[in-house]
Structures are given as C-alpha cells and as structure tokens.
C-alpha cells in the first residue's frame, strides 16, 4: 500500500532570510505508520508536488495556519481524482471544522498507538470522518524515534550547510500564554518524555545540530536537569525555546550543547536585561522573539523596545506582529471586542496585521514592524549575525571533534535549487 504524505507550502515573510527546516510533524507521524505501508513524502516548500492517482491514500500534514488553504486546495485536487484524503497536524486541529469540508477524514490529537486502526479502517473502506484523540494523550513512553528516513535530506541544505533537525523531548504546557495555542493542542499539563527514550532518539540522529521544539523546557527543573545531564555525552549542539535561568540549570545546558535559545522580550525591564546577560555568561547565545502590536504597546513603546534590544546585545531578533490564531487567548479577546477584520488564513503569517491594534492603525503597526527589522539589523545584517552564530558553533564542534565540513557538492544549491552567489 502506498501512502502519499504531503507538507503544504506557505508564503514566507517578505524580506527575511529563508531557511527551510525539515518538518517535524510528518516524521513523528511517519514513525507510527504500519510497516507494510510505503510512504512517499513531499515537502512542498523544497520540491514541487505532482498530483496524480498513483497513491492509495493521501495524508496532508499541516503545522501553520498559513498552510491550511494550500492544504485544502491539494486535497480538493486529489479527491477530484477519486483518492481519499486524511488530514493531521497542529493546524488541522486549529482549523478542524473548516478542514473537514475538504477531507475524507481528519485526525485530531497525537498519533502514538492510533494509526494501525486508521489504516485498517481505510483498508476495510471504513475510514472514519473524525479520529478524535484530543484530551486523550498517549503514554509518553510510546513516543519512539521519529522516522526521518522519509525526508529527502539533500533538500535541506543551504549552500552546503545542513539545516538543524527538529526534535522534541516533551509535550503540553502548564501556561496559557496570550498568543499561544499549545494549551488546546497539547493539553494543560506538561508531559515530558522518559529520558532514556529521548537519548535513544538523539543517539540515532545523524545531524549534530538540532532545534528542540518543545514549547518550554523550563517546566520541570528535575527533569530538565536530568535531560541535560543525559545529553552531555551525545555532544549535540542545539537551539531551543526557554530554559530556566537558574545557574545550575544553565551550567548543565551549556555542557549539554546549548547553542542559542529563543527568549521572548516583552518589555525593557532589568529582568530581561539580566536574563540575557545570564545566558551570555554561560556562552549561550540569545535570539529575542519580539511580538509587536499588543494592547500595552504604543508607537513610542515599540521604538524604545527596539533601542533596548540593541543595548542588551541580543545575538538575533525576530519580530512578529500579533497573529490571533484560533484557540488562543489573543483570538478570544480580539473576537470579543470585534477587532479582527481579516479572516484570510494566508494572512496569518505574523507579518501581516489582521486586527485593529489598540493604540495605532493597522498601517502604522505594519510600518513599525518594518522599522523594527530595519533598525535592529541596520549596523549588522541578519545574515552576518547568523554567520557569527554559525562560527561559534563550528568552533565548539572543532574543539570536541563533532565538526562536519559543509557539503562542497551542494555549495551552489539552496534547498534543492541552484544558486549563483556561491560563498
């Protein structure tokens, strides 16, 4: 049986450096597909999709809201050919009712231990309209190594440099952060994977550079420290979201290969200043994630925030405008106040303003979004700052013997496409 698995393309933010990372959802899902099923995977962000009737079943995995319309379009074309289409992934859950209009089946929740039944149903021509496992999380020990063999790995190189692979060590979150839907997607509890299962998967990964995509590693100190201890011998270098700012945690994180962390910067307080300094003291770089357009921000606040970011010596900064994704408090609040004016999901890319900000017009917020990017990267462009980070990780890899030179045969190729400006 042949299963065509598709990760739809989306439009990248204008003017920003494009990095296509190997997707995570499809490889986690693929690990649970029955062994006798042949998987043919296409990531539309790095290769063209050919729609034909050569598969038995089509799966569409969607992570972002900006993927859903393209996902629905693909599904409509396959269904016109008579093939059945099942959807899964984060944004299938966020947009479930709408997605059902384009699907033979949707899968909601986490896949571990559930896909044998789905494929058995398909074989009996009894695919259910909904497989609903929301609120029924699987036993975390069932989460095995993701199946990264489905990826065409050469497509995830930029001028010979391999992109990081995505990896997760936990699911769920205890917090209810304003722009985040993890509470709905992964539940309100923090669910760490058993450390031995995490190490098992990490040991099998041939990429030394990783992005640990967990919402936050800072939710269980004991587990977090055990995780970092267990990771030290693996010598991986990794990027992650927040880790705790306790000295003993940061020390272990640095030993475990923390390369840089994403840190939300929401004000100009000493708390933020000290936190960035603390990461730097342990040799961990920081990429600030800065959300613009919140109700407590005026034009002056945003300009002051950008000045502050330059002052605290952030290694990188990523500016986004608030996108009120469904199932977030931001969405609920703006909905109540009737402030969302644009429901075109392609515009929910965190670069377009789809609601009325409290203290300025949508156009002014768009202008400030561009101002923030331009001002922060005026003295040193984003590519140069990234190059500095790459240099730092390379020198660490050279010193611990894990360095892999860039692929010369892919030096003039960027994500599967030939480029001319070879460095």
């Amino acid at each position: 049986m042949k299963f065509k698995l598709i990760y739809p393309r989306w439009e990248k933010l204008e003017g920003q450096t494009i990095f296509n990372l190997p997707p995570h959802g499809p490889v986690v899902m693929a690990a649970e597909v029955p062994e006798d099923v042949e998987i043919d995977f296409t990531d539309e962000n790095v290769e063209a999709l050919v729609i034909d009737d050569s598969a038995d079943l089509v799966g569409i995995s969607m992570m972002l809201t900006t993927q859903v319309k393209r996902g629905w379009e693909i599904a409509d074309q396959y269904r016109a050919l008579g093939l059945k289409v099942i959807f899964g992934g984060i944004s299938t859950m966020l947009h479930a009712e709408e997605t059902m209009l384009h699907a033979d089946s949707i899968f909601l929740g986490e896949v571990e231990g559930r896909l044998d039944q789905v494929f058995a149903d398909f074989r009996k021509n009894d695919l259910k309209k909904i497989y609903n496992f929301i609120s029924k999380p699987p036993d975390m020990s069932l989460i095995g190594p993701a199946n990264r063999d489905i990826l065409k790995k050469d497509l995830y190189y930029h001028k010979g440099f391999r992109m990081v692979d995505l990896f997760h060590a936990s699911r769920g979150c205890i917090y209810d952060c304003y722009p985040c839907a993890v509470r709905y997607l992964g539940g309100r509890g923090f669910r760490p994977r058993p450390i031995d299962r995490v190490v098992e998967e990490l040991s099998q990964m041939d990429n030394n550079r990783l992005f640990i995509v967990d919402n936050s590693l800072a939710l269980d100190t004991k587990w977090e420290m055990e995780l970092f201890k267990a990771m030290i011998p693996l010598k991986k270098k990794w990027v992650s979201h927040t880790i705790e700012d306790k000295n003993e945690v940061l020390d272990l994180a640095a030993q475990a290969g923390a390369w840089y962390v994403y840190q939300a910067v929401f004000d100009t307080s000493d708390y933020i200043r000290n936190r960035i300094k603390q990461y730097h003291d342990y040799g961990i770089a920081v990429e600030g994630t800065i959300l613009l357009g919140l109700d407590n921000q005026t034009e002056d606040d945003i300009k002051r925030l950008v000045d502050f970011l330059l002052e605290i010596d952030l290694d990188l900064a990523e500016f986004t405008v608030l996108a009120p994704f469904p199932h977030t408090k931001a969405y609920s609040d703006l909905l109540k106040q009737n402030r969302i004016f644009d429901k075109d999901w392609n515009h929910y890319n965190a670069g377009k303003v789809v609601y009325y900000p409290k203290h300025m017009s949508p156009d002014k917020l768009t202008e400030l979004f561009h101002y923030a990017w331009d001002t922060f990267y005026k003295e040193e462009p984003q590519t140069m700052k990234m190059f500095n980070l790459i240099n730092r990780v390379m020198s660490r890899e050279l010193s611990d013997g894990t360095f892999t030179p860039r692929r010369r045969d892919l030096a003039n190729v960027s994500f599967g496409k030939k480029v001319t400006d070879v460095i």
Binding site: A96, L108, I130, N132, I134, S135, I174, D176, Y178, Y184, G187, R188, F266, L294, D295, N296, H327, K329, A330, S332, D333, L335, K336, Q337, N338
Partner: protein
C-alpha cells in the same frame, strides 16, 4: 451536572461542560436570582484549573447548557463572562466582565456578541 433544587437565590459552583471535540472542561459559575425574577449567570474562566476549552470559545453552547440545567427561560436569563485577575506581569490577564447577547432559535443560543462591563455595572446587575 444535575439541577440543584436548593438554588433559590444565590449559588456558587464549578460547572462541568464539554468543550471543543468533547473535551472535558470546567468553569466557575455564579447564579443569582434577582429581585425582578431574572437569573443572572456569571461564568468565570479558571485558566489552569480548566482542563479543556476556555469559556469564550464555547460561550453559546455553554450558556445553553447552563440555561437548560437550571430550567430557565431565555427571556429571564442574563449571561456574563468573567475573567479573573491573574496578577500577571503581562496586562492581558486583568479582570474583565462581558455581557453576552445571543440569538435564540427555540433550542439553543448562537451568534454571541460581547459588551464590556465595569465591575460597578456588574454589581448593579446583581441586584436586579
């Protein structure tokens, strides 16, 4: 939840409801019988203590369920959504009250419209 026969004037409770995709959910619920005979329902979002869907996202079916559980008539039913102050460093988690207006089709509420209320307005509404 069963109808509480003891409810004559005032009742505070946790209220269980089904959220999106049947996820078990919970809110705080204050019911007040006003002097004018109307029932005022205040549904409070309890954030981390709510394992499922927030009140806002299912406010119309939730209001329907509260109405039916308490054998009320739509014309005699006033519904307020409440979010408590979480004392967060962020400003988005302050206390808010919103009065809901719905369409009623004889069976259930739909098309919610929220109107922000001050605490004083809520206090006055509790009197009736």
């Amino acid at each position: 939840m069963e109808t509480n026969p003891a409810f004559s004037k005032y009742m505070d409770q946790y209220f269980d409801y089904l959220g999106h995709w049947d996820s078990p959910s919970k809110c705080g619920l204050k019911l007040i019988k006003r002097k004018d005979g109307k029932t005022l329902a205040i549904a409070t979002e309890i954030y981390r203590q709510n394992p499922g869907t927030p009140v806002t996202e299912v406010v119309a079916p939730l209001a329907t369920q509260i109405l039916k559980t308490n054998s009320e008539k739509p014309d005699n039913f006033i519904f307020i959504e409440h979010t408590p102050d979480l004392r967060s460093k962020l400003t988005f988690y302050g206390e808010t009250f919103d009065r809901l207006e719905f369409d009623w089709n004889g069976e259930y509420f739909s098309n919610p419209v929220w109107t922000r209320l001050s605490k004083d307005e809520v206090n006055r509404m509790m009197e009736g």
